[in-house]
């Protein structure tokens, strides 16, 4: 008999349990394949689980719960996210913490609900009007299903912002053997509220911290939250210098406080770096292992923080003569976010729609 606590488990269950242990206390759900398993699990596990009548209401209820001091979560897929976009912008501007688990499926539109995809990467990177960054973390294996949700929740709290936790159908609806004994305990997120006697200004920051302290509505100080351009008190302004400085702060805040999470497996003398995220990272790991068995030096990069782009990423890319991006979408969306629409000659892409990318397809693109 081997050691461990082996079982069959799916990614949805790990993500949901991890979020609950981390301190997310309210789940607002609207069913959509392939995100519904998370909703089902959350309805049994979260301190509160609500059935919303649509995805706009979902995000609005989450915002209300966040304004009242809770840490809400939802799970959805592209059609639901599309309805949430304006409300995510609202929560971003109000600076309300929450996590949106986005389970990608094949598009466009309703596409194929039970086929996986990585087609929403450019969308989530451009979700906030004006180009402001939203933190986007991406799960690349079952270990990430456990490790990343608390990081996403902590970032939401630290930066007072909605956070997208990106995954896809093949990650959350596939069961696999897994040793539960390998899961470390999940520490609850650390959270502090404004506790001073002086009047509270919901958007006033100190010089060294770009995030204002948080205070829920309904308590001893007046709290003003607004989605419109506003000053430090939360009062609507047109484009006053104070208000615009406050809006610009949102970019600085997210860029400063989104942790750079990635896996870098480098080999000496390797000239090629294989880059993949989400379920394709698993194929990339296999591809790299197979190439190494053949005696080829090749390195692997799996970004967990997809957006905003951490500053060290480009420094890593610059070390390589060839970059092979494997992405399950039409053109290599993340490669384009990094390098633009005219990809430099050193960048190759392996793309697919409607089918997972195989390790062989990735290995074929690695120059020998």
């Amino acid at each position: 008999m081997t050691n461990g606590r082996w079982t069959l488990v799916d990614g949805s269950r790990l993500i949901t349990e991890s979020l609950a242990q981390a301190g997310a206390d309210a789940f607002v759900g609207y069913p959509i394949t392939p995100a519904s398993w998370i909703y089902q699990y959350a309805s049994r596990r979260f301190p509160v689980a609500l059935a919303a009548p649509d995805e706009i209401t979902t995000l609005q209820w989450m915002s209300g719960l966040a304004a009242a001091g809770h840490l809400p979560v939802t799970s959805t897929s592209f059609p639901g996210l599309a309805l949430m976009v304006e409300s995510i912008n609202m929560a971003y501007m109000m600076e309300l913490p929450m996590v949106i688990v986005l389970v990608q499926r094949l598009g466009p539109a309703t596409g194929t609900a039970t086929a996986g995809a990585q087609g929403d990467v450019q969308l989530v990177a451009s979700l906030i009007s004006g180009g402001y960054p939203l933190p986007v973390f991406c799960i690349s294996d079952f270990a990430d299903c456990w490790r990343l949700p608390p990081r996403a929740l902590q970032t939401a709290v630290d930066a007072r912002t909605p956070v997208i936790l990106l995954t896809s159908k093949e990650m959350v609806m596939t069961q696999r053997d897994f040793d539960l004994a390998t899961l470390p305990p999940v520490p609850p997120v650390e959270r502090r509220f404004y506790d001073k006697a002086e009047a509270y200004q919901p958007y006033a920051t100190s010089p060294d911290v770009p995030v204002p302290p948080f205070l829920p509505v309904g308590q001893g100080h007046q709290v003003r939250l607004t989605a419109s351009t506003h000053d430090c008190r939360g009062l609507i302004q047109h484009t006053s210098p104070e208000a615009m400085a406050n809006t610009r702060r949102l970019q600085t805040k997210v860029e400063t406080l989104t942790p750079a999470l990635f896996e870098l497996d480098e080999q000496e003398n390797a000239e090629t770096l294989v880059v993949a995220y989400d379920v394709t990272a698993e194929a990339a790991r296999d591809a790299v292992a197979a190439l190494r068995q053949q005696g080829l030096s090749v390195s692997l990069f799996v970004p967990k923080t997809l957006w905003p782009i951490p500053s060290q990423y480009h420094a890593i890319f610059e070390r390589y003569r060839h970059l092979v991006f494997a992405e399950e979408n039409l053109q290599g969306q993340w490669a384009r976010l990094l390098f633009g629409h005219r990809l430099p000659p050193k960048v190759r892409t392996v793309t697919s729609v409607g089918a997972m990318i195989s390790p062989q397809a990735i290995a074929q693109e690695v120059p020998i």
Partner: protein, 412 residues
Amino acid sequence: MSTVLLTDKLPYCPGCTHHHVTRQTAKALEKLGVSPLDVVLVTDIGCHGIADAVFATHTVHGLHGRSTAIAAGIAMALPAGKKVVVFIGDGGATIGLQHILEAARMNVPLTVVVHNNFLYGMTGGQPSGLTPPEFKTMVAPEGTHLPHHNLCELVHEAGAAFAARVVGLGDFSSTLADAFAQDGFALVEVLEMCTSYTPKFNPDFKLRQVAEAAGYAVGSWTNPPRPPFRLQFRGGKPSLLSQLKLVARQENVGLMRRLAIVLAGSAGEGVQYAAESLARAAVSGGLHATKKGSYPVTVGVGFSAAEILLSPHPIRYHGITEPDFLVITSEDGLHWAKPKLATMRSGRVFVDASLPQLESPVPVERRDFRTPFGAKNAALLALATVAQEEAFLPEALVATFDPRAKVATPKS
């Protein structure tokens, strides 16, 4: 001096009835003796939405039409004694009608104050769903000739604890106080006039006359008391992992290579259960396994298919390009599996004997899966048969899910 308003100077156009609604709201809250910090005012988009700055309460200013929904999120999470008040216009009530009805249905403890001046005042005077049929606006200079929603009736039908309609003239603070006093959903529709756009297109406008002609009845409507929708946060629920069935894992039983099995059958015939049983048996035999299902949106009818991957090594990529064994137990399964079958270059197909002869590029084995233990056990029997015949799992592990091992006498 008002305890609720920070100033007498309100930000609306001269003569706008919004002045009156704001003051009457403050008066009603003061009548009830509510502390401003026990009140959350949620404003929508529209001229009333610039009221935040004059209120000493908490204020939340969100999106057009969505104020009731964010207010519901707040109200359901706050303790009893807090008052959540929504200011919304007739335009916001139109685009956000679903949110209002939902909050009424759930009896979320909040009050929606609808500023119904029959038009969108902030954008030049367009008609809303609450505009009377003959009322003229910039984009409908002859009127819409469409009936308006009866908001009070709609929320009353949806279960609102309290609904009322008043003409926004004179003192209606008692009606507002009655609404605010509810521990449940309340709505007060205030009929108003926009001084900027109403006279321009309706020069002889008289608020009471127009309201009466449009059938906007003044009054209040209540439903029998029922509990408000307030959340109870219940922590300490059992871990989702504690509910998982653990597998006693032995050393590897001897499978030396990766094996891909695709099982295709019908909904209701235990396909997913059978696939999971095989995967579980393999894991207990020291192997690694993945299993995923595929089925149409109508989960109770049509095909049900599963992909199982077994390997002596940890599985990372779990896609199956070509199965080693394609196992088909029903006509639905056959229909689903045909394209996959056509592209197979290696491997073997196991098909139920009742199904038509197949054109296949690889060898086909015909077995009776459906009769011995009935259709419900066809998938289990099929996987057990394949595992046994192909000998990729030891007998003892196959027996853990083989219906032949569990039932002494097969069905006749």
